[in-house]
Symmetry: C2
Subunit: 377 residues, 2 copies
């Protein structure tokens, strides 16, 4: 069978899938990807450490990236989840407690589980805002520190993948610092979209996702840490003293890291325009909410491009539509809009990140048309 002779519809359409909007490659990254397409392509002049390679200039890139997010040390990983696992695996033992927020990505739980650690959840405020409040964080942390003597880490989702809520990382970072609990800030949805200043946020560790938010081919992520943690996180092999154990020597040893590097100048610029993206998203929400039966979930006003709409109108239409729940996917496809899961109508998770006004208006009008036509059935 011929595998992968097919084309991606998402590539030729207006793709509103939030996990994919920030990972669209730049022209520079496409060129680099082609040049470095073969296996071990970055290893031509390697002397034993990925992060020290000069040709291509991985070492220099990592140093510049550390300034970009204001951490002491940066290492490439295979993604945000792998970075989380590295930190938990280095700091925690079986049975240790980790405080997480109630909007944490599933990979936070799974990384904790893989390390046989327990997660204690700071609950969100429930429907419709699902907010992680600073006071709730403090309260949960205090309770947990009273109850257990093995609370080793806190993981805060900077912006979550369900509602696109921005947490007050600065205040929460301060609380964790005061209580002596190391904080890992999960910037999968923020690093590469908005400016990140890890030291200002008092994050001991930050993880980013290149294929999600930094215009890179997957799988690639970033782990940033302050130097006080270097000996734990980047401890070396006894037998091979130049190899970092948690990275199994080398992590991203091929194509994805060169796309991350090639897209970096663009990413450095685009985070400066983050306010514009927030503005666009708020416009998008305002117009979408004019459609009967569409309502934004999560904190208002939006502080991030990921939007989750409650869409009872789609549910209603799907009951009478010949295509049932699949009507929405097909109607959007007809209009060259992709990124919505086939069959799903209860809610609509989407993003117009880096679209222009014409595209955004086209999307809004498309939804208007689809609802009008649907109501008429």
């Amino acid at each position: 069978m011929k595998y992968c002779a097919e084309q991606r519809l998402a590539k030729k359409s207006l793709n509103i899938n939030p996990i994919q909007r920030g990972g669209i490659l730049t022209p520079e990254a496409k060129v680099a990807l082609h040049e470095f397409e073969d296996g071990y392509s970055v290893c031509d002049y390697c002397e034993g450490r990925l992060d020290k390679i000069n040709k291509p200039p991985i070492h220099e890139f990592l140093e510049e990236f550390s300034k970009f997010i204001n951490v002491d040390i940066v290492r490439p990983t295979h993604g945000a989840r792998e970075g989380k696992f590295i930190v938990i695996h280095s700091l925690c033992e079986e049975g240790d407690k980790i405080v997480v927020d109630g909007n944490a990505h599933y990979t936070t739980y799974v990384a904790a589980e893989r390390n046989k650690t327990d997660t204690i959840v700071v609950p969100h405020s429930g429907y419709p805002n699902y907010e992680i409040k600073v006071e709730k964080w403090k309260e949960t942390l205090d309770n947990v520190l009273d109850k257990y003597d093995n609370v080793k880490l806190a993981i805060l989702t900077h912006v979550d993948g369900n509602y696109g809520n921005l947490t007050d990382a600065k205040k929460i970072g301060k609380i964790c610092r005061r209580k002596g609990i190391p904080l890992l800030l999960n910037c999968a949805y923020t690093m590469g979209r908005m400016p990140i200043n890890a030291k200002k946020l008092k994050a001991d560790f930050v993880v980013g996702s290149g294929h999600k938010s930094m215009a890179a081919s997957g799988p690639i992520g970033i782990l940033g840490l302050s130097e006080e943690w270097e000996d734990e996180i980047l401890r070396k092999s006894k037998k091979y003293p130049n190899k970092e154990i948690e990275l199994l020597g080398c992590t991203s040893r091929g194509a994805p890291i060169v796309t991350l590097m090639a897209s970096f100048p663009h990413v450095k610029e685009r985070v400066k325009n983050w306010d514009q993206e927030v503005k666009k998203t708020r416009y998008f929400v305002k117009e979408m909410e004019k459609i009967e039966g569409i309502k934004q979930l999560g904190i208002k006003p939006k502080m991030h491009d990921l939007v989750n709409f409650e869409t009872p109108i789609f549910e209603k239409i799907s009951k009478k539509h010949p295509k049932k729940g699949y009507f929405l996917y097909h109607e959007l496809k007809k209009r060259n809009i992709t990124g919505v899961k086939p069959g799903y109508t209860k809610t609509l998770k989407c993003s117009v990140y880096r679209m222009d006004k014409e595209q955004i208006d086209y999307i809004i009008n498309s939804f208007r048309e689809i609802v009008d036509a649907g109501i008429g059935i």
Copy 2:
């Protein structure tokens, strides 16, 4: 700074670096790579599990691949080392013993170390063959089983990356099976080069490296296992019951896996011609050994394309050459041959895998010229 605007010399030259010969992309893989270049590109129609995706046909590919290497279950990983870590992490606890061969890749040791397990080494036969003998394996295993009650795993390097020695995996597999010790066969240098039959070799687990030996972009690997180990290795999250903990939900969630898939038909065919590759390598060795001061290390005759030559003649030349130890790298570069580490002259690790006779003769003649010119200094 503009990152990755540069070109890879290795791409336009005769590259004799053994780690890179098997990872050169097929034309189909290049097309697929371009199409699936963006972040999360394989996730357009994902319903929560990478290995179950139908579009692109990852699920079907993994099923076919399992037949290709004759295992029950296959999962994609980020590489051979990550697969090793998954198995050790699932089976072993701190302080457990793992038996490894004396030619094991450094990542075997580092994966064991990352799990706080101890490795017990089956020594090779030393200079010049560095052979892992079956009797030595049996003897070491017997001793270790006498001494410890927590020997949990054996890892055998099918072909090692130092000498290109092929171990007798079938006999060693039988020994491990008899003693009740699970065997992980590290096929980084064999899966995709020669036919692999995991069940016949009595390997409980096999790991392969796509970017090393399966014409794929890195980082991508394969983990194969027999179904009796499914519950341990692929145990599910309690909170997210469809997510496999050791894979953190999803591993190769982007471009590399589509290159692995697109190259698969080619790889299936090429392993059938493995005998030809061995023949070519033996010819290469025979001709190279005609040059004074070049001698093949490792078992003879060669059973794999990776060759390590002892090269005292290069050492000798380097002492008088104006470019010192760098003369070899430069002389080869002049002749459009790459893959040799700059400055290194004691030994020459190389491979002519998938080169034609004309190219191989060109390489041989180049070395002849370089030595003749060097002697003349």
